[in-house]
Symmetry: C2
Subunit: 340 residues, 2 copies
């Protein structure tokens, strides 16, 4: 069983199902792999005795494990392809097998192209990537050493499985080495991860996209400035809010309910009214009915407050930003919201 | 605590929370009542010791109970306002309290306006309504008797709590009296319920909207013809399908997983490939990735195949329609899909 562009350990899936005699299995796939769903189901049904059910719901990450309702379907295993385990949410209710989809793209040319840009910034380079490319960091390390750099790959906290791996909500693998490095090299697509990397480590970041071999540095600095201006605006326009909605995700790996209670107490002590609001997927459209809420505080995925900011007609801020709103933290001590 | 236009038994909620000493309560509201969420939360928090969490996810009916993940929030009670219990899904995982939102609109004028239309069709009238207005059927019965009609109000099956109540997926309270009546009088808004009523009972239906006092009869007949033409088209275009996607909802009251397995077996025996697909909320956009599926069979809410039909770029049919596709049922024996 092969999926073009990726290396996915289907043999491990087959072995696990056979060994544990799993009978009903739910398969979660990221959007890009759904087109292979029928092939994967057929492969697994032909090679095991399990019945495979495919989840069609969007699956944004390892935090987004399909829910307890599957118990009613007698499901005994959830397989999530395309993400690496967040250890503290795994196996909470139904056995869960995370199977990474490793990109098979060769990163050598991209890294070599980045060398002169790295040289300008320093010698000590922290290496980070997402689950798709993190397996290539050893190779990147080798190339950097050959070119007289000093690369570092950090360990993350208990939510991180692989050395050098970062999530949009967790930069612990970068923070653990931030003091030792001059800058970070991020290997991967998208702007959200390098943005969080810059805001959480306060170090320069050079990003290389292994697919386009595009190097981003100045654009990221500009994006950081834009986002900080947006965040400053969101904080300023939350100052007069009277009623706050505290958002708590129902997704397994984003359930910061205790943080929500803490925030509610903090607002109570400032005589501000607040309401805890939960949902599977937050968007402005599902919150539109809550007309009298002046400001939302998201304890869910940090992307909701930051990436989706312009979709919201009310300010939406992170828990750290609320501390600034309530004068418990200074703007100079701004931190990126993480789930650690 | 009053909500304009509705009678909602908030005292019962307070009593239940106090009696059972519930500590963490999730509140589900239909879209129209979300604007009152903060008032309801304040009322309940002021009158009990419970912490109230509001669910922002859409809540389409009593079938749509928010999910098991709430266990992780130590939630011990779910309150669903605006729907009447579907007894067989209640209390499955967390105690659930359904509190109806009874419309306080006076239906007398609407019923009186309908009298000449009823007279044309017959004397024996089956009375049905939705949870919002079903409490008025006793009054409708009285008006009809005063005007020399013979009204009937039927009992539903184990999914139906109130006499005369119908759901979009369950017309058992009408079917139980269908043989005795000349026609049905439906009291309520929307076209889906009277449409299902016509298709499941095969009797004439007159619908009155208590808000607009509008009487619908001819329009419903035209809609029925349009929908039947659409269904005929959907069945015809599913005949050549090679790969079928069998949709199973994760919503508590729509989980027809055993029907899905039965359908899969039926398709297997006809050498047609099929895949079971589950989701919280089905829409064409979340199914778009499944590019090689030629036809979807929905075991979820019947509205998905029928109301949302035009949104789908692939035919989407009900389990009964699949029987016609596979020549196991004749078009003449077409039935409306129900969850009984």
């Amino acid at each position: 069983m092969d999926i073009p562009g990726y290396s996915i350990d289907f043999e491990k899936i087959v072995k696990t199902i056979k060994k544990e005699k799993y009978k009903r299995v739910v398969l979660q796939l990221p959007e890009g792999l759904k087109t292979y769903a029928s092939q994967i189901v057929e492969f697994l049904e032909n090679n095991t005795k399990a019945t495979i059910i495919v989840s069609a719901d969007p699956c944004f990450g390892a935090c987004d494990i399909t829910n307890y309702e599957l118990k009613n379907f007698d499901v005994d295993l959830i397989i999530q392809i395309g993400h690496v385990s967040i250890p503290d949410v795994e196996n909470l209710c139904i056995a869960t097998l995370f199977v990474n989809a490793k990109s098979d793209i060769n990163i050598s040319n991209a890294v070599k192209k980045a060398l002169p840009f790295l040289k300008e910034k320093g010698k000590k380079i922290g290496l980070v990537s997402t689950s798709q490319h993190v397996h290539t960091l050893k190779k990147v390390e080798k190339i950097l050493i050959e070119n007289s750099f000093q690369p570092f790959i950090g360990e993350g906290d208990s939510r991180i499985s692989l050395k050098g791996q970062i999530l949009g909500c967790n930069f612990s693998a970068a923070l653990s080495i931030a003091k030792q490095v001059d800058l970070f090299l991020y290997l991967g697509s998208g702007n959200f991860h390098p943005l969080g990397l810059m805001l959480s480590t306060k170090k320069p970041v050079i990003a290389i996209d292994p697919y386009t071999i595009e190097i981003r540095e100045k654009e990221l600095e500009e994006l950081k400035d834009l986002i900080l201006r947006q965040r400053y605006g969101a904080i300023a326009s939350s100052k007069d809010a009277k009623k706050f909605g505290i958002l708590v995700s129902m997704k397994r790996g984003q359930q910061r309910i205790n943080l929500a209670y803490k925030i509610k107490q903090m607002l109570d002590s400032k005589n501000k009214k607040s309401y805890i609001i939960t949902a599977e997927n937050f968007s402005y459209s599902i919150l539109e009915g809550f007309r009298d809420i002046d400001c939302f505080i998201s304890t869910a995925c940090p992307r909701i407050a930051i990436d989706d900011y312009l979709q919201y007609k009310k300010p939406i801020i992170t828990p750290i930003e609320l501390e600034i709103v309530l004068d418990k933290r200074k703007w100079e001590d701004y931190r990126f919201d993480q789930i650690l």
